[in-house]
Subunit: 340 residues, 2 copies
C-alpha cells in the first residue's frame, strides 16, 4: 500500500515541495492560483500529512505547567498521581510537564506560583482556579504573554482562560438531587449538604444545581444550610456528627466536596438510615458503596481529565482542532455494581 507524500502532491501540481509545504501550513507567499492547484492535487491523491514526520521535523517541544492544590483529598491525590503519570508518558512526544502544588483555597498562592514561573511558564498552563480577582488578573496576564491557559476541575469564567477541563458542576448538583429524590422513600424530611469551601466555584455550582432541583421537585424535602468541611475528613466528621445527633429528621445527604471519609464515618457512627450521594472514588467510598452506607458517588475521572488537559493544551499551542467528543468530561455515576 503506497503512501502519498508531499513529494507526490508537488509533482502532480507541477510545483516544488516547498510550495506544497507552504500551502499545507498556510504560509504566505503563494499565488492564489498555485494554492488552488496544490489543493486540487492533494484532493485527487487524497494526501494526508504524516503526523509523525511533521512532529519530528518541527522539532519543537512543548512545555506545560499544572498548578494544583496540595490538599490531601483522595481526589487531589489521584489528580497529582495522574499528572505525574502523564509527565512520563508525554515525554515520548516531546511534551514536558511540570506540576506545581500550592496550598489549597489560597488565591495568593496561586498567583505567586504563576509569578514564580517567570520565563519558565512554557507554552501552556492548567490551573485549578478559585474565584478571585487576582487569579483572574494573573490568568489574563499569562494570556497576554501568549501563554495558553486552561482551567482544570474548578473554573473561573470571565477570565481569558481558553477552555475549562472538567464537568458541568451545576449539572452534577442536579444529578445528586434527582438521584436522592428517587432514593428517599420517606414522605418528608431534611437534607444535609456537606461542602468544602465557598471560594471553590465547583462547590458553589454543585450546590446551586442541587438546590434548583430540590426546590422545584422535592417540596417534601427541606435542604439545610450547608456544612463547610474545609475538605478535611476530621472537620467533616465532627460537624456532621453533631448535626446528625441534633436532627433526627435527616433522610438524605449530599457531600459535594472533599473529606468524604469524614462523611462515611459520621454516617456509620450515627447508624441512621440516610440516603447518601458523595464525590470521589477512593477505597473508602468503594467500601461504603459496597456496604450500603453510600448509595451513589458522582465522579469526574482524574486520569481522563489530565490526559484531556494535555491534549487540549497541545492542540491550543499548535492551533490544531480539538476533538470535542474525546475531551468531554463525563459526570460519572457509580453505584455498588459498576465500580471499576
Amino acid at each position: 500500500m503506497y503512501r502519498v507524500t508531499a513529494q507526490d502532491v508537488a509533482k502532480a501540481a507541477g510545483v516544488s515541495v516547498a510550495t506544497v509545504d507552504r500551502v499545507l501550513n498556510e504560509r504566505k507567499g503563494v499565488a492564489q492560483t498555485t494554492i488552488a492547484k496544490v489543493h486540487n492535487a492533494m484532493e485527487k491523491l487524497s494526501f494526508v500529512r504524516d503526523q509523525a514526520a511533521a512532529d519530528l521535523a518541527r522539532g519543537k517541544s512543548y512545555r506545560f505547567n499544572f498548578i494544583v492544590p496540595a490538599g490531601e483529598t483522595a481526589f487531589f491525590n489521584d489528580v497529582r498521581r495522574e499528572i505525574e503519570a502523564a509527565r512520563q508518558n508525554a515525554s515520548k512526544n516531546r511534551i514536558e510537564i511540570q506540576m506545581i502544588a500550592v496550598p489549597p483555597l489560597n488565591a495568593e498562592a496561586i498567583v505567586a506560583a504563576i509569578e514564580d514561573l517567570g520565563e519558565d511558564v512554557g507554552d501552556g498552563i492548567a490551573i485549578v482556579a478559585i474565584e478571585s480577582q487576582i487569579v483572574r488578573d494573573a490568568i489574563n496576564r499569562l494570556r497576554k504573554n501568549g501563554v495558553n491557559v486552561v482551567t482544570f476541575i474548578s473554573d473561573i469564567p470571565n477570565s481569558g482562560r481558553e477552555r475549562f477541563i472538567g464537568i458541568d458542576n451545576v449539572a452534577a448538583g442536579r444529578v445528586a438531587a434527582s438521584l436522592l429524590k428517587r432514593f428517599v422513600s420517606a414522605p418528608v424530611g431534611d437534607v444535609a449538604v456537606v461542602a468544602g469551601s465557598s471560594v471553590l466555584r465547583d462547590h458553589v455550582e454543585r450546590r446551586m444545581g442541587f438546590e434548583q432541583v430540590m426546590r422545584a421537585e422535592c417540596p417534601h424535602l427541606n435542604v439545610l444550610p450547608w456544612i463547610e468541611g474545609e475538605e478535611l475528613a476530621g472537620v467533616v466528621d465532627e460537624k456532621l456528627s453533631k448535626l446528625l445527633a441534633e436532627n433526627s429528621n435527616i433522610v438524605a445527604l449530599y457531600s459535594l466536596g472533599g473529606g468524604t471519609r469524614g462523611v462515611i464515618e459520621a454516617i456509620e457512627a450515627a447508624k441512621s438510615d440516610v440516603s447518601v450521594v458523595t464525590t470521589e472514588l477512593s477505597e473508602h467510598t468503594r467500601d461504603a458503596l459496597i456496604s450500603g452506607v453510600i448509595d451513589a458517588v458522582l465522579v469526574q475521572d482524574p486520569s481522563h481529565m489530565v490526559r484531556s488537559a494535555v491534549r487540549t493544551l497541545r492542540a491550543l499551542t499548535e492551533n490544531a482542532p480539538i476533538n470535542e467528543s474525546q475531551e468531554r468530561i463525563r459526570i460519572e455515576i457509580y453505584v455498588r455494581d459498576n465500580l471499576p
Copy 2:
C-alpha cells in the same frame, strides 16, 4: 531545553548508536555487559525514545478491519459513524481502517466476511462477536496467521481473541437491577425485560447480572420471562404493548438491547407508571429521559470504544504496553441531568 538522543546515550555508554538501537529494540547480538552499560547510560541521561521519530523511521503502516453488524440500531449507527471518523483521523498516523458491515445476528456472515478478506486482513481486526463455534474457529484461524484480534462490544471468550473492548455486561445488568430496586416504591410487582437476541452474549450476560441482583435482593419483585425484540423497534413495541395490556402489575422495565424506541412508544401509549432503565443514548432516549418516561439509561460510549479498539490493536501489533486506565470502558449511567 536540550533533548537527549540515542546519540548521547551511545557516547555516554562508549558504544555506537547501532548498539544502543539494538538494546532499545531488544534485538539479539549484544553482550550482557554492553546491555547493562547502555541501560545505565539511558538511566543517567533519562533518555526517552522519541515516538515521532520512531514512527517515521519504522515507516510501517498498520491496517485494521472492523467487522460490525449492519443493524439499524441507534447504537450501531453511532458505532459505524465513529469508526468512519476514526478512519479519517487514524490516517494521519499511518493507520488504515476499513469497516465491513455484515447482516446482524448471523454467524455465517461474520465468518464469510473474515474469509473474504483473504490477504487483505492486515495487522488486526475488531469483531462484534456472537456466540458461535464457527466464529470462534474463524478467530482462532486469524490468530494462527498472526492477525491480532479483539472483540468489540460483544465478546466471545474461550476463543483466541486477545482482548475484549467493551463493558462488563454482567455488571451492567446488576446496575440496572440495583437502580430499579431503588426507583420502585411499590411494595410488590412484576418486572419486564426486553432483550434483542439470545445469541448475543452481551444481552445474555446483562440479563444474568440483572437476575442475580433481583433474585438476591428484591423478593418483592417478580421478573417475567424476557421479550425478544430482535433489536427492532416495531417488534419491541408490539410485544411490549401486548404485555403491558395483559399485565397491570408491571412496575419496572429493563430494556437491555436495541429497539429502545419501541420501548418508549409502548410505555408512553400504556400511560402506566413504570420505572424504566434502557440502553442507547439517542434523541429518543434523551427526550424520554427529559420527559420522565425513562428513568435511567446505561451506556457504553461508542466513540471511546472505537478509539480504544484502534489504540489497542496498534499496541498489540507493535507489542507496546496498553494503558489500562485509558482503555477501560465505563458503564455510564445517564439520568435526566447529566445528559451530554
